[in-house]
Amino acid sequence: MELFLQQVVSGMVSGSIYALIAIGYVIIYKATDVVNFAQGDLVMAGAYTGILTYSLLSLPFGVMVIAVVGVGAGLGLGVGGMVSLMLVRFQSSMVNTIIVTLAVGIVLNSTAMLIFGPNPYPLPITFGKVPISLWGVRITPLSLVVIGFSAAVMVVLSGFFRFTRLGKAMRATAQNRDAAALMGISVRKMFALSWMIGGVLGALGGMLLAPLILAEPSMGIVAVKAFAAAIIGGFTSLPGAIIGGFVLGVLENLAGGYMSTAFKDGIAYFALGAILLLKPTGFFERRAVRRV
């Protein structure tokens, strides 16, 4: 039983990061109908920004967070701007927009490679070295902070969407663009805002991930798992994405522990594939898959 609990708790740590990144996907998609294939590299950008500010420039934790948020927002805005330009001005097809986001990801990846080299880089943030033991389950302060930070971000977001005017305007735009425009909401601004928020979430995910797994230019691959998490949640529901993230994290660990560790990392893809094939709308469907 203790082993089971430990697996679950360890899974929740990675799960909280998946959840954070997954929400980023969902926010962008709900507002703009575009899947941000560059999300993984935004994660990486966040991680390296953290390293740059905290490790290399020895700036305090708070400054690091602000820098990461800034980078995430800026990059999110950049990618979003390009995509919007293509869709609106050039009437590009969906395939082309997917490819552009992928290409941006590649450029970010190689930039990181050039500046930092291909080797793993640590982001040594710790909040005390002694693991805490609760009911026989060990968890480090760092892990607790990761879960806590993610949770805090989710709460803040949720409050934003529910209680602020801007948040409600975003929700309105996501539900019905034309009606929102008629109500005087600037759809373009809402698009920009959702890309920014999506980018920030990705970057924060990277910042939290780096102390756990060491940063590397290819670390963005974690976003595919976050993507699977978002799909589990239906891709159009924020609570769904959060639950999806935690479910995936725990499932991976349990599968690794009770089945084969070799397949642990394949679980995410299996889940992704299985869900897309069997129930593309996920378990928390809010909206139809296709609009004619």
């Binding site: 969906m94 395939v95 930039t111």
Partner: protein
């Protein structure tokens, strides 16, 4: 998004074919290797064009089918099957897997299809990696070349084999598009809704297009193994799938010329970029993004537009005279 000018494509295509056949004997080992790779890429690009250019679908996991074809034909050859049988076997198995994946996958479209195929591509790679008893796992499998007439250099002989197969497959594709199934594929690309309204089964034709496309990819894979002499999971990654998509994106969708042009460019691109060394990957990203951004109809589309413009410019002059 139709087959535009079949005549121009056919002429250009024949020129490339004849040109390469004539130039080949003069080429050294390494250039021949590149040309062989490009010829295989042409087959892949035809398969992608059928999918993207004609039927309006997308696949971000086609490297999986390429790999399935490669592994299948390698195993068949090792079991004693003659080359042609192994090659066809690779294509058929890839096609069958394509059907199995396609049945559920093609029920969704757009982003969901892109993601399903991406997930499938990754799953296939993991299978290649972990199913050691069959695929040799991370160590991969050595692949032998078919026995060819001894009076030709081996690299040259194999190049002709590849070009021959590519020619046959291309001719087949040209003609398929003129038949009823072909027209159904084209109609899918233009408007799925219209197809549905005319009472034609959208899913059935999507599946057919997908299966044919994966068959082609599988045959290409079967040719790839003997060229390199070795296959392993590292040759069939997400990046490989992306390069396949790039062939159509850079070359141009919906035309033979575009597919061939794209295949050649993408194959030669790493060679051209060798001088940039560390910047290679970044240059790749810029080229990919740039071509999609500025040339949404690919290089072939650009060429067509330029020709069209000259024609229009000449028209008033003709009218006046």
């Amino acid at each position: 998004m139709s087959t535009a000018r079949p005549h121009a494509s056919a002429v250009g295509w024949a020129a490339v074919l004849v040109g390469s056949a004539v130039a080949a004997p003069l080429a050294g080992v390494y250039p021949l290797y590149l040309m062989s790779l490009a010829a295989i890429a042409v087959i892949v690009s035809l398969s992608m064009d059928l999918l993207m250019g004609v039927a309006g679908l997308i696949s971000l996991g086609h490297a999986a089918f390429f790999g399935i074809g490669a592994y299948t034909s390698t195993l068949l050859t090792a079991a004693g099957a003659p080359f042609v049988v192994a090659l066809l076997g690779g294509g058929v198995v890839a096609g069958l897997v394509g059907v199995v994946v396609g049945v559920p996958a093609l029920r969704v479209s757009g982003h969901y299809l892109a993601l399903t195929t991406l997930a499938f591509g990754e799953i296939a790679r993991l299978v290649f990696l972990h199913w050691e008893s069959v695929t040799g796992g991370a160590s991969g499998l050595p692949v032998s070349r078919p026995a060819l007439p001894g009076w030709l250099r081996p690299e040259l002989a194999y190049f002709y084999v590849i070009v021959g197969v590519a020619a046959v497959l291309a001719w087949f594709m040209q003609n398929v598009l003129r038949t009823r199934p072909g027209r159904a594929f084209l109609a899918l690309g233009d408007s799925e809704i219209a197809v549905q309204c005319s009472g034609v089964s959208v899913v059935r034709w999507k599946l057919a297009a997908f299966a044919l496309s994966t068959f082609y990819a599988g045959v290409a894979g079967g040719l790839f193994g003997p060229l390199i002499g070795f296959i392993d999971p590292a040759s069939f990654t997400l990046m490989t799938s992306l390069m396949m998509v790039m062939m159509i994106v850079v070359g141009g969708r919906g035309t033979f010329g575009g597919a061939i042009l794209g295949a050649i460019i993408i194959t030669l691109l790493p060679e051209l970029l060798r001088t940039t060394k560390d910047l290679q990957f970044m240059a790749f990203g810029f080229i990919l993004g740039g071509s999609v951004f500025f040339l949404p109809r690919g290089l072939w589309g650009l060429a067509e537009r330029l020709i069209e413009r000259r024609r229009i410019a000449a028209a008033p002059a003709r009218a006046a005279s």
